[in-house]
Amino acid sequence: MIIPRKTSFISLPRISVIAGHTFTQLVRMKVFYFLIIFAVLIWALKQFVLGTFTGGDTASEQQLRLLKSTSYFAMNLFSIVMAISATALLIPKDIEDRTLYTILCKPVPRLDYLIGKLLGVLLLIFVSLIFMDLLLSVMLHYNTQSLIASEISLMGAGGNSEVLQERITTLNAHGLTNNIHYATLVIFFKAAVIASVALLISTFSTSTIFTLILTIIILLIGMIQADARELILKASERGETSIISKLSMFIVLVFPDFQLISVDDGVIDGKIVPKLTLLKITIVSFFYVALYTSLSWFTFRKKEF
């Protein structure tokens, strides 16, 4: 008598197969071309913009600030675009092309499929961010050292050594520190949360365009919701409650707070990211990703094809 083999509810090898395949699929869509654009952007910035800064003590810091802000802008742009478009595209495409039929007809639990797809997208973003972070680190280190050298030569041998030391400390704080990598890591966490939101929407959406638009709306809400929350709290302190404030409170509770998952502005200004903040961001991001992935599975588990 034939007895069907037992299939575990969740399997790491199966998830890794789907994630690996999704990563390869995206790589073959030539998304890594963006990295070439990034490298060219950084090179062009160095060649044509950074050298033009003149005058004042702050010019050196401004150069480093511009390098960091441009790089983080590109990192944020790439990771957000990839998180939304790749996640929003992959599942509807599998349904439309009927490739999902052949996958789900194998002993593959739907949760494995969803997690695999999400991890594949995140792996691609992670690898890309590592490359960008590496490039930024090299450029930042090179520029910082070059700026320090020019400060030393400007002050000359007779300069005040305390002032010089202070300048070196300030420039080093703006240069390559662990905070640079922490900011990249937080950009990755933000992309992970956005991708999990896109995953959730794509499980019930009927078209890719709907998924894209709705995810972008949630992203925008997430970016301003901290300000909204503050306004609501102030209004409630004054005893003012309306339907709009109740609705806003609901939005605050349901949608992710992307202002919370962001440290790059501080790092651009040379501030230190406290370890506790990083830990909090990590926990909050994991919570959001787990929540939205669970909800995705809940809507996807009974979906009919």
Binding site: R14, Y101, T102, C105, P107
Partner: protein
């Protein structure tokens, strides 16, 4: 029970299956499958035939667990088809299978093999064996984006067989395949049947269904309207057929006279039996191949 009296396992059991779909605003209900029941014994080849939109694919999807029955149940080797476990013994070839175009056929088979938990040397051997079986060794490293419909169908068949399933579900297995490929798929179905694999197939090519199936179900507007063995379904009970080899014209005349003298019987049709166009095509192609080989040597 089989003809020989041996009791077999039930591979597929569909019991009073009902599948309804609601319209967008849930005002109207469309019943795609209406109280369908069928049983497929282990090792049997079962064909489900019916016009487009009759409920064949919906029944198959219910057996595959891709949709949940509105009422009734589907079981595969005793396991509820909505459970993932039931799929460990199923190989499925969808109609017009689409795969990831960026993969080669070897990569595709490796991917599906890994999903079924096959790894290492065993997987490599299995992929090589299946590519040879479906005659795609020459195109193993070509991306599927450049494959013809028939070649994709072969890849589909190979992926369906990757985990050596005990139940093979084939939806239009020869769609887009040329007559020679179609014949090869038919031979493969018969070979798998001889190995004890249960096959559940849907096809519009009734001649093919007749060639390979032990039992057939006819579904119409969501209802099972007829079901049985091919002999039961195709037998014309009040007619008899003789095919006589090397009969002289005199003997044929004698037989016709004998029937003419009988008050009840009448000749409905007589003449020389015809070969099928498919057989003619395959014989001609084989002959050409043979001549080409002969000329080369």
């Amino acid at each position: 029970m089989t003809d020989s009296g041996v009791t077999r396992d039930i591979a597929v059991e569909v019991r009073n299956l009902v599948k309804s779909y609601k319209s967008s605003f849930k005002r109207q209900t469309f019943q795609a499958v209406d109280n369908v029941s069928l049983q497929i014994e282990s090792g049997e080849v079962y064909g489900l035939i019916g016009p487009n939109g009759s409920g064949k694919s919906t029944t198959m999807k219910a057996v595959l667990g891709l949709i949940s029955p509105t009422a009734g149940s589907c079981r595969v080797f005793g396991a509820d088809s909505t459970r993932v476990d039931a799929r460990s013994e199923i190989g499925f070839l969808p109609e017009n299978p689409y795969f990831y175009k960026h993969q080669t056929s070897a990569e595709t088979l490796r991917f599906y093999g890994k999903l079924c938990g096959i790894r290492g040397k065993k997987l490599t051997n299995k992929v090589n064996e299946l590519l040879e079986l479906v005659s795609l060794e020459h195109a193993r490293d070509r991306r599927l984006g450049g494959y013809s419909k028939g070649m994709l169908q072969r890849v589909g068949l190979a992926q369906a067989l990757i985990q050596e399933p005990q139940l093979l579900i084939l939806d239009e297995p020869t769609a887009g395949v040329d007559p020679i490929g179609s014949r090869e798929i038919r031979d493969l179905i018969l070979k798998l049947k001889s190995q004890g694999v249960t096959i559940f197939l849907c096809s519009h090519l009734l001649e093919q269904v007749q060639e390979v199936c032990d039992r057939v179900g006819i579904i119409f507007e969501g209802k099972m309207v007829n079901e049985g063995t091919l002999e039961e379904l195709t037998e014309i009970r009040n007619q008899h057929e003789f095919i006589i080899k090397n009969a002289s014209p005199a003997l044929v005349q004698d037989i016709e006279d004998l029937i003419a003298n009988n008050q009840q019987a009448e000749v409905v049709r007589s003449g020389k039996p015809r070969s099928s166009l498919e057989k003619l095509f395959i014989d001609t192609a084989n002959e050409q191949k043979h001549n080409k080989k002969g000329n080369k040597s």
